[in-house]
């Protein structure tokens, strides 16, 4: 048997079906008697609804039913719930305005669902939707953060004064202010974190089905966490108990966070399937994805660092405006607070940190987690500020970092913003990355580039993130309305093959391979005899799903615990069969052995005995070999690392090109190096996208200008260089695998490295920071208006 255990680059088992077109996505599923839904959406950012006339649509050919918010209200359907409550500085709870499934009274962003048409075909539903007339009175809108916090700004929700969802803070303001008062130098930076549109390759889709016989509901949906959807939709929206509601998330083509949340369409098709007594399918068109998938990022911040004479960081003070969009998406409030401000220590021993965050409603699509979720915002802010500190104090960027790093012998390290880092070695990842990038040889490459009309720059980011979310008690104390453990069930079949039922969900991450490797390593079963099942509340005991790079650290740890139980039971069976004491049974490489003898039984012999218990300790042991475990992590995990980027900017056009990228990440123990490399590459591609290309732009009225791929610049293959990926390993100290998570490091670590490189390229043009995306036009303006210090050469 080839080496398939921990550390092997096993080819992804799932890729055969994906690459050959045999994936089974929600839209591939068709239920008997199925009809189709089309959502009529607001075409304007903010308006009062005076009336909705659906009569013509209801009579159109092929139409089965038309529903509006009033129909759902009449059925006592609840609003879409928010899963996290933040408290204001004064202790009062955040503003939590209603989020009706279909708009009631008002529409608040372009794309807000107003009505649904259900028809025999998708085309008929779409045709009929055009016959719906909505009598609107347009209202002034608050399209951007700046507009929304302006005095007398239009209110997105009448009951929310100043459009402020919450005004939150963390840290000791008085102590931080005192440190600033004593500082010899203060460096200040204003920066924005651009708004992004996730654009998973597979658009969202949902099929609702109501069983006329049992009264059970089934929802097939593009979700990263079907049990969470069952909980939210069942308990809060449709009032269906768990035992009558099954949620299936089959193959899902990318999520990046955007498929965590409970969306209106899921509730609409589920609710309406019982009204029309037929299964209902809805699949987003790409333009609907742009205006209804939760967007990401969108911060405006001011950051200040107080420094002593030697350049040591004394205190960090930050003020951030965070865009919530028009309604609170499922986890929106926690992103710019507990997933953001708690990471502001970065990899530095800054002793004092104070951060205040004002979350603001605007007439735009709701904003929630997107790959990295809060941590890219923190990393961009801290790493850009560190570069600017070096710039403003005339010091070397690397030296400033090394001087202020948390040293490798300081772990566990308690930051001033709640987190305790368990392990890490930031000098090691920095050293490895600088070496791999030939940092020392950069100036020669810059000189050579200049001769070709290119401005070459190098950027460095030393980042950290908090993953493996999360200890339930901790997040509960911070406002989470759910626990964040994970569940695994390990079923050893009579012949010794294994099925793993996991609450984690795979939407591209390769879980079917990585998890099979875990099982193979621990139970000694070849990976082709391991089946990984996820994404079905009808099969999996429970699960909190996949986000925050938690699947291996939390979901994998649950599997380890369940396998420990399997082995413990197996030892009892083996002891009985081999007439030995349980304490003398050892398990390794798939065999139960009586210690110090050559007597052994293979796992398959034990499982057969468990299911055919003729010779079995039946008095003290139940038949069967199947165990379930729940794992609640003791802490977050803290992947960290160093990214080094080199760019060349064309002097004539301002066009930037990433010419080299090195990522050295410490993600703890690596199970499958190939999958880790793929995850890092994908994350870096998204980070390069954010830094150079992607930007969700609304006009002053709240129309989405970047509403299609014609105007929203997704990174393409020619925008992304070959990425050198390497790992340095410090083990996570508190989970059984020592793993930290790798899904988000690329998107978190890379944007400041790219922008650092761009700023370095333009170092002669009097620029110390550039906001994302660094587009050609923006860079050309700097080149045009800058006064090159060496223009005479």
């Amino acid at each position: 048997m080839p080496f398939e255990g921990i550390g092997a680059s096993v080819r992804r088992k799932e890729d055969v079906r994906f690459l050959s077109g045999h994936g089974n996505y929600t839209d591939d599923i068709n239920r008997p008697g199925q009809v189709h839904a089309f959502i009529k959406r607001a075409d304007r950012p903010h308006a009062a609804i005076n009336g909705i006339d659906t009569a013509a649509a209801a009579k159109a050919p092929g139409v089965v039913a038309v529903f509006t918010g009033a129909d759902m209200a009449a059925d006592n359907v609840g609003g879409l719930p928010c899963g996290w409550q933040i408290h204001n500085k004064d202790g009062s709870p955040m503003a939590e305005p209603p989020h009706p499934v279909l708009a009631i009274g008002k529409v608040r962003h372009v794309g807000d669902p107003v009505a649904v048409v259900i028809a025999e075909t998708r085309q008929a539903a779409k045709d009929a939707a055009e016959l719906i007339t909505i009598d609107y009175t347009d209202l002034p809108s608050a399209a951007t953060l700046k507009d929304a916090v302006a005095p007398n700004a239009p209110r997105v929700h009448d009951e929310v004064a100043g459009n402020v969802c919450y005004d939150w803070h963390i840290g000791d303001k008085a102590m931080v202010d005192a440190a600033f008062a004593k500082a010899t130098k203060v460096v200040k930076l204003d920066l924005t974190n651009n708004r992004l549109i996730p654009n998973a390759m597979e658009p969202r889709a949902a099929i609702g089905e109501w069983d006329t016989s049992s009264g059970d509901y089934t929802l097939y949906t593009t979700s990263q966490n079907p049990h969470v959807i069952r909980l939210l939709m069942g308990a809060f929206v449709l009032h269906i108990p768990e035992n009558k509601l099954r949620v299936v998330a089959p193959d899902v083509g990318g999520g990046f966070g955007s498929k965590i949340y409970h969306y209106a369409e899921e509730a609409i098709v589920t609710w309406a399937s019982a009204k029309v007594r037929r299964p209902i399918k809805w699949t987003a068109e790409r333009n609907e994805s742009f205006m209804s998938d939760a967007h990401g990022r969108d911060h405006v911040s001011t950051a200040e660092m107080a420094l002593d004479t030697d350049g040591n960081f004394l205190a960090l003070r930050i003020s951030t405006l965070a865009n919530m969009g028009a309604y609170l998406s499922t986890f929106a409030p926690c992103i710019p607070t507990y997933l953001y401000a708690t990471l502001l220590a970065g990899v530095y021993k800054t002793p004092l940190i104070y951060c205040e965050v004002k979350a603001v409603f605007t007439n735009t699509v709701p904003v929630d987690a997107y790959r990295g979720a809060g941590r890219p915002e923190a990393t961009f802010l801290v790493e850009r500020l560190v570069d600017v500190i070096a710039h403003d104090t005339g010091k070397d960027r690397i030296a400033v970092r090394r001087q202020n790093f948390i040293p490798a012998d300081a772990f566990p390290y308690q930051t001033p913003v709640a987190l305790q880092y368990d392990s890490g070695n930031y000098q090691a990842t920095l050293d490895a990355a600088l070496k791999a990038a030939d940092y020392a040889g950069f100036e020669a490459r810059r000189t050579a580039a200049k001769a070709r009309g290119k401005l070459r720059g190098i950027g460095v980011s030393t980042y950290i993130e908090a993953c493996g979310i999360a200890p339930s008690a901790v997040v509960g104390s911070l406002g989470a309305r759910a626990g964040l453990y994970e569940c695994a069930n390990i079923r050893v079949h009579p012949t010794g093959s294994v099925t793993v039922f996991t609450g984690s969900h795979s939407h591209g991450q390769g879980h079917e391979t990585t998890f099979a490797q875990l099982v193979s390593a621990q139970l000694g079963v070849p990976i082709e005899q391991v089946e990984v099942v996820h994404g079905d509340t009808g099969k999996i005991p429970f699960g909190m799903g996949t986000y925050g790079s938690r699947s291996l650290a939390v979901g994998g740890s649950a599997m380890v615990k369940a396998m420990d139980k399997v082995i413990a039971k197996g030892k009892k069976i083996a002891a009985h069969l081999m007439e030995a004491s349980v304490d003398d049974i050892e398990f390794a490489d798939g065999k139960f052995t009586v210690a110090g003898t050559d007597k052994s039984k293979a796992l398959a012999e034990i499982s057969l005995a468990a299911y055919v218990p003729h010779n079995y300790p039946i008095e003290e042991l139940e038949p069967g070999l199947e165990e379930t475990a729940f794992y609640d992590p003791k802490n977050f995990t803290f992947p960290a690392g160093c990214h080094v980027c080199e760019v060349e900017v064309d002097m004539d056009t301002g066009v930037p090109e990433v010419v080299s990228f090195v990522a050295v990440d410490d993600v703890g123990r690596v199970i499958n190096p190939m999958i880790v490399e793929g995850q890092v590459q994908g994350g870096v591609a998204q980070g390069v996208g954010q830094a150079l290309l992607e930007n969700a732009v609304y006009d002053a009225q709240g129309q989405l200008l970047s509403g299609s791929f014609m105007d929203y610049t997704m990174p393409r293959a020619d925008n992304v260089p070959n990425i050198k990926v390497a790992t340095e390993v410090t083990l996570c100290t508190h989970n059984p695998l020592g793993v930290k998570g790798c899904g988000e490091v690329g998107a978190i670590g890379s944007p400041p490295a790219v922008i650092g490189a761009i700023v370095d390229a333009l170092r002669d043009y009097g620029v110390r920071h550039i906001n994302m995306p660094a587009t050609p036009g923006k860079l050309w303006s700097i080149i045009q208006s800058g006064r090159p210090a060496m223009a005479a050469e």
Binding site: K126, D127, N287, D652, T653, L693, N695, V697, L705, S706, F709, M710, D711, Y712, T713, M714, T775, P776, G777, W780, S781, Q784
Partner: protein, 264 residues
């Protein structure tokens, strides 16, 4: 898309008759612009008159001209050694349109008839002083492009071929929109014995236009440096979230230089 009826006429006369008899009828060439328009429900034609069966494909090379049938795909033009041998910039331009799939469906006639302000072919037609041949007449390129998405074609007029005079040298370069990859600025330069013609696509609010100051400078000295200091006024140029009018004006100069440098 909305429902429509679909016809594949076997000859030009039949096709023209359908178009003349129904103002809601629409001719379809490669469909690389129009099919997305239909899918987005931005057009509601009564009849689609597919020109595919009219025999309008093929390239004819004469001593002083290259004639490209209206339904000839970009890929065919790009790969044509005969075109490249006579008008290097034309073959190069065809190879720079869209992506591989678009180049195998999209046609020269469709591109020119649509006159998208960010399309490539109008720059070649105008710079080379092409003649657009239709079922009714021949139209000089200078008279053909009448504004954004607008041409002098009549309702029942169908482009049959585009005839390009053979220049001494020609070259095309473009600056792509990072998202759509259409031209933000595209410049085609063509050097004839009588002088140089320069056409700019992507930048102008009214679609493709000639840059006469550059034409004069290049006629005097056909070298990249000759256009280095010629400014293009930002007035009348497009500005959008990707490129301001001022940036486009600057890019016209940079891209013109590169087109001249490439010209062969």
């Amino acid at each position: 898309m909305y429902d429509f009826s679909y016809q594949q006429p076997a000859n030009l006369a039949d096709a023209a008759k359908v178009l003349l008899g129904d103002p809601e009828a629409k001719a379809l060439a490669g469909g690389m612009t129009y099919i997305p328009v239909l899918k987005q429900r931005l057009a509601k034609p009564s009849v689609i008159v597919d020109l595919v069966k009219l025999g309008l494909t093929g390239i004819t090379v004469g001593a002083n001209s290259v004639t490209v049938g209206a339904m000839t795909t970009h890929a065919t033009v790009a790969k044509s050694a005969a075109v490249a041998g006579k008008i290097r910039g034309l073959a190069a331009l065809a190879g720079m349109i869209g992506d591989e799939a678009v180049r195998h469906r999209g046609t020269i006639g469709g591109s020119i008839a649509n006159n998208d302000p960010a399309a490539d072919y109008p720059a070649a037609a105008l710079a080379l002083g092409a003649t657009i041949k239709t079922n009714k007449r021949s139209i000089k390129a200078d008279d053909f492009f009448t504004g954004m998405f607008s041409t002098s074609l009549e309702q029942d007029e169908i482009i049959t071929a585009v005839e390009f005079p053979v220049p001494e040298k020609s070259g095309y370069e473009k600056f792509r929109n990072p998202a759509s990859r259409y031209a933000i600025v595209g410049v085609f330069v063509a050097k004839f014995p009588a002088g140089v013609r320069v056409a700019v696509t992507g930048a102008g609010q009214g679609g493709v236009f000639r840059q006469t100051a550059m034409e004069q400078a290049l006629s005097a000295n056909f070298a990249a440096d000759a256009v280095a200091n010629i400014k293009t006024p930002a007035d009348g140029l497009n500005g959008d979230i990707h490129a301001s009018a001022e940036y486009r004006a600057h890019l016209v100069g940079v891209i013109a230089k590169r087109a001249v440098a490439k010209a062969a």
